[in-house]
Structure formats: C-alpha cells, structure tokens
C-alpha cells in the first residue's frame, strides 16, 4: 500500500491552538506522525531580562490563557523562595482556592472541546454552560475571567470576605450538581465510550519513561501530583491523586472528570480552614540566587527555573510546561491508530501550545 502524507493543523477544527502534524498514512492507518511547532513563539522568557521582577507576574500569567493563575502563582512562589519572603497564610489559602477554580474551568473547557471534537455538540454546550458559572465566580473575586491578575510577589491583591465565601459555597453546591449531570454522560454514554475506549493506549511504563505529567500520566496508572508536595495551602489540605489504569483516551477523560469533584472539595476545605489575617507582605530589595519551583497545573506539572543576580531584572527565566512533557507520549501513541482517531488522541493530552512555545 502506498503511503500518503496528510497535514493535520495548524488550523484544524479540533485544535484551539496551532500545532502541525504531518501524518504518514497507509490506507486509513497512521504509521508515523511528524510534528512541527513554533507558530506562536513570543519570546516571553527573554522578556524577563528587561522587565522588573515584580511586574513580570503579569507576563508570567500570560504564558497561558487557561492556566494563567497557576503560572503567576508559580512565578511568585519562585521569587518568594529566592528572597525568603514569609507569605501570609490567608494569601496561601486564597491562592489555593483560585488555583482550584482555575483547574475546574480548564477541565470544563477541555471536556467541552472534547465533546465538540467527537461531534457531541449538546454536551459541549452543557460543559461550557457550567464553566460560565465558574468564570462568574472568578470574575467577581479576582476581577478577571481568565487572566486573574490577583497574585503578586508577597501575597495576593484581593481578599474574599465572609459573605462572599458563603455565596461561593452555595454556588459550588449548584455547580457540583451540574457537574454530576455532565460527567455522568462523559463516563457512561455509549457514543462517548465508542469514541474513547481502547484508543491511544499508553502503558504505565511508557508514560513513565516518556516523562508524561498530569492527567496523561495519572490516566496510565502513575499516582503523581505535585500538589502533594505541599505548596500553598496543600500542606494542610491533603490531595490524593486520581488514577486510572487503562491508559486510553477514556481513562484520561475519566481522570479529569473525577478531578473536578476533588477540586470542588479542596475549595470547600480551604474555605473551612482559611485563617484570618493579612493578605500580603511588603517586598523590598532585589532577588539573588537560583531556584526550581514545581506546581500542578490542570495539564500537569510545570517547572520554573529562575536565576537572579541582585538586580531588578532576572538573569534567566525558564519554564517547562506540561504540554511540552506530554507531546512525546502523543507521538508515541499516534502510529497504529486510525486517521479518524487522531483528533481524540491529540485532544486527550489537552494540548496548550501557547504554554509550550511561550
């Protein structure tokens, strides 16, 4: 059988962001996938050398439009580690709450895109209907819908008062009920299962060897979650990683569905334990030193490497984003699959190309 090369992306209905794959196919089977990236490189890492380290939070938040808050939080944590800044406990709890809201809205966005990718328009609309409620809470508490802008070096910019917490908890009950409705369809519906079960299987050993992170790794049975390192308020709120053993597209979808409920519970626990007090400390001086900070984003572990030399600008700023770690796994499982399953496999690693290319 003659081989044909079919271009997939950078503009494709299932891709929210541009990545290009040259799919070498024999009949309807993919035999090789050749990626090319670099369509949206913006040079954000270089910008750290010309921006004030305090103002750079705004740039760090814009590395990704969906997990923006956790990017800002990780950057602040890295600077706070270098400068030994004691962050007030209330600020750490607020960061945890916003981080989990960010995870819920990211997972709901992904579930919607997934439903849209498989042609399930109705489910797509419902996923985004619920996401809208989460975005409204985020906008009311931080001021922004996806770019929160509420994290700063030394703490947070805004507080959440007791009355707002009560309202949010009430809204969370409603959101949880909605989530039960839509995740039931994702996990049990026959047409969803037909599109996801047994597709793009990644074994536990392969996932580990290829350095996968986040739901892609946990979907293959490795219980790894950076939140159990105890950053922010996670030292008081234990997180047990959600895992599945199948390693296929369905497993990765099921991990994200379950994580939605875990995040709702984390927010409830954080609000129950949140201490009173200051939300930020004054930061003076310039950082000197080097650090590596790791946090758990919706797509997996993000690694920040910062090097500072005592001036107001950083000497080096490097980010290893979760999608970058998951791309080798995607390329591993694509050969051998049907051409019609490529969109599902590409979507299940939750590709965030803005993050990857920065």
């Amino acid at each position: 059988m003659a081989r044909t090369v079919i271009p997939f992306g950078p503009q494709h209905p299932v891709l929210p962001e541009p990545i290009h794959l040259d799919l070498v196919v024999e009949d309807e089977k993919v035999v090789q996938a050749l990626p090319s990236i670099g369509f949206i490189h913006r040079g954000l890492e270089k910008l750290a050398e010309t921006k004030d380290y305090i103002d750079f939070v705004y740039v760090a938040e814009r590395i990704c439009g969906i997990c923006s808050f956790i990017h800002g939080q990780t950057y602040c944590q890295a600077i706070e580690t270098i400068m030994n800044i004691p962050v007030p406990p209330r600020a750490l709890y607020l960061r945890t709450v916003w981080g989990e809201f960010s995870r819920i809205h990211s997972h709901l966005l992904w579930l919607g895109l997934m439903a849209d990718g498989m042609g399930f328009e109705n489910l797509f609309m419902h996923s985004w209907r619920v996401r809208e409620k989460v975005l409204n809470i985020i906008e009311a508490t931080t001021g922004g819908r996806v770019i929160f802008g509420s994290c700063k070096v030394g703490g947070v910019r805004r507080d959440i008062n007791a009355d707002t917490i009560k309202t949010i908890l009430k809204d969370l009950d409603e959101i949880e009920k909605d989530l039960q409705g839509i995740t039931k369809v994702f996990l049990n519906d026959r047409s969803v299962k037909a599109r996801l079960c047994g597709i793009g299987v990644l074994s536990k050993q392969e996932a580990w060897d290829l350095g996968c992170v986040g739901p892609t790794l946990r979907g293959s049975g490795v219980a790894q979650d950076m939140r159990d390192q105890g950053y922010a308020a996670f030292k008081d709120i234990p997180v047990e990683p959600v895992t599945r053993t199948e390693g296929d597209c369905y497993a990765r979808c099921a991990v994200r569905c379950e994580e939605l409920f875990r995040s709702v519970n984390i927010i409830r626990q954080a609000f129950a334990k949140i201490p009173e007090g200051e939300i930020a400390v004054k930061v003076t001086g310039n950082p000197t030193g080097e650090t590596i900070t790791r946090t758990e984003q919706p797509r997996g572990e993000v690694v920040y490497h910062l090097k500072a030399n005592g001036t107001k600008n950083l000497q080096r700023f490097r980010v290893r984003t979760p999608t970058f770690a998951n791309l080798p796994a995607m390329l591993k499982v694509l050969p051998g699959c049907d051409l019609a399953d490529v969109p599902m496999i590409v979507l299940t690693i939750d590709p965030c190309i803005s993050c990857t290319e920065r």
Partner: protein, 109 residues
Amino acid sequence: MGYFEMSKLALKWALTKPPTTRYPFEPRQPIAGSRGQIVFTKDNCVYCTVCAKKCPTGALVVNRAEKKWVIDRLRCINCGYCAEICPKKSLTMVEGHGSPAVTRDREFH
C-alpha cells in the same frame, strides 16, 4: 454501557429558560468586582508619574510640566496596578468594560 444518558439532560434543558441572553438586545450586566476599565479623575492628580513608571505595558504617559495624563487603551491590559499604587486615588477601576478601542489613538486628559 449506557444508552440515552444525554436524554434526561437534553429534555430538562429543552423545557427550561436558556441560560444565555439575547445579546446585543439584552446587554450583559457587569459583575460586581470586575476590573472593567481604568477611569481618571483629573481633580485629584498631582502628576507624580508613578502610574506611568509602574505600568507593565507602558500604556500610560504623564507629562508633569504640561499637566497631561495620557492613556493608550489598546496597550492597557486592565491589570489595575496603577489604581492600586496611585497615591492620590485619582485612578480607579470601574466594572463596565466600555466600548472596545480599535485604534492607536491616545486619550488625553
């Protein structure tokens, strides 16, 4: 394996008022606490230039000699940093987003 899992949800929402609004006939109400846009109050300003120095995108220009405060709305990212650090509180964030800027024209105050 479940059949008709979506039917219950679809049926419920077929008989419920849509959660969407009929925009633009029904404008979106701003959410309390939202960072909509920056508003300048000329009376309090002492033209100290702190906002222009701290603006992360360089959207603000302040001329102390001519007493001019200038904003490029296309550059402004509505982060609210200037409103936070303004010593005279002449800058505030309001909830409404206003009409979008489409040109590089600067607003002079």
